[in-house]
Every structure is written in structure tokens, then in C-alpha cells.
Symmetry: C2
């Protein structure tokens, strides 16, 4: 039995400031423990809205909050900017570069990044969407493609610039494809002089027989119909077999097909952060094929009751044999569970094993249209869109006073204005301009008239 108030207090180290790590820290803010949150970024990112940066609707700061500012009132919590490379479970320390940070309880929640199923050379041609920098790069490519099409005089090349391929029919892929179609068919339809943006082709590719596999089949169908109406060509049972330069090779049944597309966006697979493998090696725990650490019913790592792995980095399969999906609600509930577990342990009590309560899935398709699957009820269309909006506003506000930002965002949404469609990025800029200069050929070569 340990005293409720210890001196020195129990040291909790949390690695990662995503949903899992942040909710652990927030839930421990009134506990008699000493919390250190380590992240390599100084901000929490609201990842579910990242596609809105990529498509020029929001700015990074709109969906990010400085970790220090979220936790400034948690006087027991210290935020440290750093990257953890490994852990020492025997010595109870995490390794941050050359520095060792001691812990009594450790929570690792460093998430996942996109994965190309071993085809890492595809990344150059088909960027993924996990970080702010990824989103800015996607935004640059999307808007640069329209600029290049405007300058291109060769009809075939112009068509390749106006062809957008989104690989992966999960929520991110669906949201990206819908947003690009809206940009082309609505937002930017008056902005160009040489091209008609309505000639844009948006292809959404999915390997399974329907998009949005986590949803009920009839919702997947409705979503596909709605995307088609928006102008997206939804292609299911379609595998990408190669991406090279601006050619995407598809396999549909036994047929192979090549598509010329200058912009290919990757929303297909994820793999766990490399820290997962390091933890497995250090503790003797097992990883699954995606690199996630297989955790015990209380989210601890086998053999180490004071080391926990949560969120996208964890494979928790104790509920129905299948690992829980890598979504924010899982990470949030796990973070809150761990915080409660630590509080109870300090009092010498135990808690029940972790149990995920699935409150449903939401995905936005386009302007005023979403699909929501709450299990007991299914919603589509405008009412689902309102539900989607409400949930996202609710969670964004929790981090900061983002009400104003959400008003702005709703405003942009209703007016279909996308003010954030900037082409930026220091390194890439000169290249873009040079590339861009090349395409331009004045369409008319009239006589010069002196005034």
C-alpha cells in the first residue's frame, strides 16, 4: 500500500501528444502525480480535419493547438519538446537522444504514419497525409496542378494535370476526393481563363468491393452515389499495381489499365511509428504486421505492468478478436482509461480491463452531405452533415477557444470560399516557378499596337 500523497510524487512519462497522449495528460491534471509529456512537435494536431488543409479550406493553426497552452493550467504537467528513440523497461527510463528520462509509469502513444505496403518509392509520386507538412505539400500539388493545366497547351498533358487520383476509399480518401471535386466544379469554376475546371477528373480507388468499409453497406452505397453526383469517379475492387512518374497502373479483375495523372494522393495504408518495434524488442512483446504493439487487456505491455501503449500504436484485440481501429475515439478512451488506472493504482486499487465503447463512425462527403453510422441509427445527407459538424466543433473547442475558427470554417463552407489555397514551401518554390515558366505559351501572338 502506497500513500495517496507521495513525496516525491509518482512520475508519469507520456510519449506523444496526439489524442491518446493528450487525453491521458488532461485526465491526470488533478492527480497527485508528476507528468512529463514528450512530443517532437510543440502542438497537438486535430488529424481528422487535416484533409481540409490539403484542400485549402483551413490553415494549420486552425486545427492545431500548442501543447503548452492546452496544458498550461495543469501545474503538475511538464511539456518537453524531443524525440524518444527507445525505452529501457528495466531501468525505467526513456531515451531521448543521449538523454535518459526516468519514469514510474510510461505511456507510449506515438501513433502511425502512412505506409506504401513495401512500395516506398511510390511516396515521391503519391504523398500521404499525416502531418501538417504533408498537408501543405498536398495543397501545393493540388493547386499547382490547376496552374500548370492553365498554362499547358498540349491537350493530353493538360488532361493529365486535371486528373486527380486518390488511392484508398476510407474516410480520408472519401473526404479528399469530395473536396477536390468541389474545388473544381464549384469553388474555382470562374478563376481560370484557358481551362474549364469542370473538365477535371477525380478518381477514387478502393481495393475492396465498397468504399468506407467501417460503415454499413447501404451507407457505403449512398456515399458512393453522392460522390458520383459530385463528379467523383468511384472505382471499387481496384488495386494499384504501380505508380511511376505520372502513370498509375490499376488492376480491375484481370484487366490492367494505365491512367495519366499528375496528382496522385495516398490515403490507403498506415504503419505504426518505429517506436513500436523498439518497445517490442526491449520488452519481448509482440508486434503485428503493421508494427503495432500487441497489448494486454489493460493496455500494458506483456511483462511490464507500468508500461502502456495506446492509440494507433497499439493492437488491442481483446474485444472481438479484431484490433480496434486507428481512430481518435479509441485513443481518447484509452487515454482516459490509463489516467483512471494510474489514479486507482496510487490508491492501491485496481480497475477493470479496458473496454471500447463504439459511438459510431462519421464521414463527410461534400458540401452539406455526410454519412453517420451510430449502429442503432444511420444518417445521410444534410442531417448527417450537421452531426459531423457538431462532433468536430465539440472536440475542437475542448482544446482551445476555437469557436471563432469554427465560425470561420463554417462560413467558408457555406460560401464555398477556400481562402487558404496558397502554394507555399521554401524549398519547392524555385522548382515550381521554373517548371511553371516552361509550360507557358502565350495563346495569341497578335500585332503590337502602340498607344
Amino acid at each position: 500500500m502506497v500513500d495517496a500523497v507521495q513525496n516525491p510524487p509518482h512520475r508519469v512519462v507520456i510519449v506523444g501528444g496526439g489524442f491518446g497522449g493528450l487525453y491521458t495528460a488532461k485526465s491526470l491534471s488533478n492527480a497527485a502525480v508528476d507528468v512529463t509529456l514528450i512530443d517532437k512537435r510543440n502542438f497537438h494536431l486535430f488529424q481528422p480535419l487535416l484533409y481540409q488543409i490539403a484542400t485549402g479550406n483551413l490553415s494549420p493553426a486552425d486545427i492545431s493547438s500548442p501543447l503548452r497552452s492546452i496544458l498550461s493550467k495543469s501545474k503538475n504537467t511538464k511539456v518537453v519538446l524531443g524525440e524518444v528513440s527507445n525505452i529501457d523497461p528495466e531501468g525505467q527510463k526513456v531515451m531521448m537522444g543521449e538523454v535518459l528520462v526516468p519514469y514510474d509509469t510510461l505511456i507510449v502513444a506515438t501513433g502511425a504514419k502512412h505506409s506504401y505496403f513495401g512500395k516506398d518509392d511510390w511516396e515521391e509520386f503519391a504523398p500521404g497525409l499525416k502531418t501538417v507538412e504533408d498537408a501543405i505539400e498536398m495543397r501545393r500539388r493540388i493547386f499547382m496542378a490547376f496552374e500548370a493545366a492553365e498554362k499547358e497547351t498540349d491537350p493530353e498533358k493538360r488532361r493529365a494535370w486535371l486528373t486527380f487520383v486518390v488511392v484508398g476509399g476510407g474516410p480520408t480518401g472519401v473526404e479528399l476526393a469530395g473536396a477536390i471535386a468541389e474545388l473544381a466544379y464549384h469553388t474555382m469554376k470562374e478563376d481560370f481563363r484557358n481551362i474549364d475546371t469542370k473538365e477535371t477528373q477525380v478518381l477514387l480507388l478502393e481495393g475492396l468491393d465498397r468504399i468506407l468499409p467501417p460503415f454499413a453497406p447501404d451507407l457505403s452505397q449512398e456515399a458512393a452515389a453522392s460522390l458520383t453526383k459530385l463528379g467523383v469517379s468511384v472505382q471499387t475492387k481496384t488495386l494499384v499495381t504501380n505508380i511511376e512518374g505520372d502513370i498509375v497502373t490499376l488492376k480491375q479483375g484481370d484487366d490492367f489499365r494505365e491512367i495519366a495523372a499528375k496528382t496522385v494522393l495516398w490515403a490507403a495504408g498506415v504503419k505504426a511509428s518505429p517506436l513500436g518495434k523498439a518497445i517490442a524488442e526491449a520488452t519481448g512483446a509482440e508486434c503485428d504486421r503493421a508494427g503495432r504493439v500487441i497489448v494486454e487487456p489493460d493496455l500494458s505491455v506483456k511483462g511490464y505492468s507500468n508500461v502502456f501503449v495506446i492509440g494507433d500504436l497499439a493492437n488491442f484485440s481483446h474485444q472481438n478478436g479484431k484490433p480496434l481501429p486507428g481512430v481518435a475515439p479509441v485513443a481518447i478512451q484509452q487515454g482516459e482509461y490509463i489516467a483512471e488506472l494510474i489514479k486507482q493504482r496510487i490508491k492501491g486499487r485496481t480497475v477493470k480491463t479496458f473496454n471500447y465503447v463504439d459511438r459510431g463512425s462519421l464521414a463527410i462527403i461534400g458540401h452539406n452531405y455526410a454519412v453517420v453510422d451510430l449502429g442503432f441509427i444511420k444518417l445521410t445527407g444534410f442531417i448527417a452533415w450537421l452531426a459531423w459538424l457538431f462532433v468536430h466543433i465539440y472536440f475542437l473547442i475542448e482544446f482551445n477557444n476555437k469557436l471563432i475558427v469554427m465560425i470561420q470554417w463554417a462560413w467558408n463552407y457555406f460560401t464555398r470560399n477556400r481562402g487558404a489555397r496558397l502554394i507555399t514551401g521554401k524549398g519547392a518554390l524555385q522548382e515550381v516557378i521554373e517548371e511553371s515558366n516552361e509550360y507557358y505559351k502565350p495563346t495569341e501572338n497578335r500585332e503590337v499596337i502602340k498607344v
Copy 2:
């Protein structure tokens, strides 16, 4: 005499989408001319608010508008993304890479960038503020400095991290220094655990005997007093003689002094875009020492009545012998003048020479405090701050529906919230983390307590 409606229409080429180029294009939107606006960026940047990005108050998209979207209703106007390297005044063409774009009338408005008076090696240590990328880099350095100070255990090094030197006491320097002081003394005062952000030192250095030289002397004095109250150390008659690593060498009278500062921000000098020199060489016109093209009373280049240079790139000295300052109102009025001149010329008429109407100067010092010099009236304090706010809202709204953004901005301002204080940037990230890992030394090394 030329017909009012020509076939083909008169071709106006505008190089640069800043205030000068954009107002020329906007003012020509109802004219019977064919307008091509060439810019190397796809957006117009509201430069007077750039310091608010650097200090984490606004996002780039808040003060930028896509050029295409501003000009989408101007059906006679084509926006081209590209960089002009030179002009051929005889052949009436501008050179964009390998491509020649013909014109009947040419307006060049490519502005200026910051200059180190020949000490280009200072740039590495003391970045300037002219582009979105510059502002993101400044933001990274400012917020990274606080993160590094939080981790640093050596008191001397910690002090260098908490010392910010702003070189140049013009409006940008004053605004930067005031904003950093506010961050340290108000916004972030509860965010750190190891450092007290109130130990931050902000130095504002000015070579002349007072800051804000364009203003009346008593306003300069009031501004300096107000900055001092905010926590800024204002040092006039101070020259920077060297910047190397984290040491800034100052000369005050005959004394030399060294200051250890990890963050040095440059707001001192500008030089014209290199296109100025190219135009001078191609036309035989003269440039001043800052590289600005000396223009005729109608803003044309000597010997070429259909080539105009406006904004920060022009040296117009026909009013009181001194060149007009490089500020937005000058560029805007020049753009509007040129548009009117072109419209009248097409009708065979002439216009009077350009005359700049100075409506006054504004500078913001900090929260609720600004100075405004309208000539006939001088304002300071809250009322000046409201005037400053009104003028900036008015001009921002002209470009886009930025009302919501301005509400957000005012909200941030009133609540002293700075949600955009993100450390981002793909290239620099790894370096930052490695650097950051090094500083960290856990302050306590207590016994490990098992739970």
C-alpha cells in the same frame, strides 16, 4: 487617335501581384484592354500584417488571397504564375524563362526584399521578413527559443535563448518587438515550468536618434515610452557592426558592446527586386543605391512611355526631391494612377503627372496601443489602435470576404490568445529535434518508485 474599342484589344502586362500590380489590375477590370498579371506566387500577400504571422497570431491564409480569386470577376484579366527575368523594351516583350510575353503597355511592380547593406552573411543569423516563408521561419525561431530555454540548465545559455534582438526601429521592427514582449510577458507566462518567461529581454535597435522616423518626433517618443512599459529595451543611436553565431556587436557612440542573443530579427533595410537593375540596363534608365528605378513624373521609364515602374521598385522623387516611401498607400495610388492613364491614352487623352496624397502613417505598438500621424492630427493609445484596426480591416476586406478572419483576429487580440504559435517546416524539423534533444537534462533525479 485610336478607336476606343480596338480589335485586338490593347495588351497590358503587369509584373507583380503586390499592392501596386493588383490595384492596377483591379482598376483596369472595366477597361477595354487585355490584362495579363504575372506573379511568381499564386496569392496576394497583405505584407503590413506579416509580423503577426511571425509572432503566432495569424496564419498565412488569413492575410493572403489567391490572385485568381480576387480577379475572378475581371473577365479581361488573365493571371499567370511565372517569374520575369528581364524585359525587351524595343521588342515590347517580357522574358519569363524561355518564353516571351508581348505587351503594348508594361507595368513592373516586383517590390523589394530585405537587405543587409552588403553584409549578406548576416542573413543566416538574422532573418528578415518579406515573404510567408520568412514569417514561418521567424515564428519557428521565436518559439523554438522559448522551448530551448525551457530545456537549458546553464543560466548563461538560457539567458541567450531568452534574449531577442530586433534590428531596425521602423514600423516592422516596432511591431515585432512589441509582439514578442507581449508573448513573453502575457500570452505564454503560464506555459513553461522551468523558465519564467518574464525574464525575457527584447532589445529594439535603431541607428537614428529615434524610432519610427516617418512620424513626428513627439509620437516617436510616446511610442518608445510605450514599448519600454511593455518590457522592450529601446536603444537608439545604436549601430550593429557584426552578427555572428549568437553574438551581436553594437556600437553606441564610441563604445562597442557584445550581446549574447540566440534570436536576432532583421527589420532594417530593403533593396529593390533585381528586375529593377535589369530594366535600367535594358532601357538606359538610372537606378538609385537601393536598386530602385528612377521614374519620370508619370511613373514611366525614361525614353519608354509605355513602360512603367511602380511601388517599392520605383524611385519617384518629383514631389519634394525625396523618394516616396516604400509603403502600401504609395503603391496603391500609383496603381490606380497608371490604370487611369492607360484608359485615357486609349481614348487619345493625356493625364496630369502623378501626385501622391499622404494620408498619414500608422504603427501598432502592442495590445490596445498604436500611434497614428495624419499630419493635421496625431493620435496615440487606444483610439489610435482602433484607427489602425479600422484601416487594416477595411483594406483586408477589399480583397476577399475576410470579415470573419478579422473577427477571429480581433478575438485573439482581445483574449491575448495566439493559437498560431506552431513550430513547422519540413527541412528544419529534424535538426530542431536533434538540437532540442541535446539541451534537455532532467532537473531532478529522484528514486524510482514502483507502483
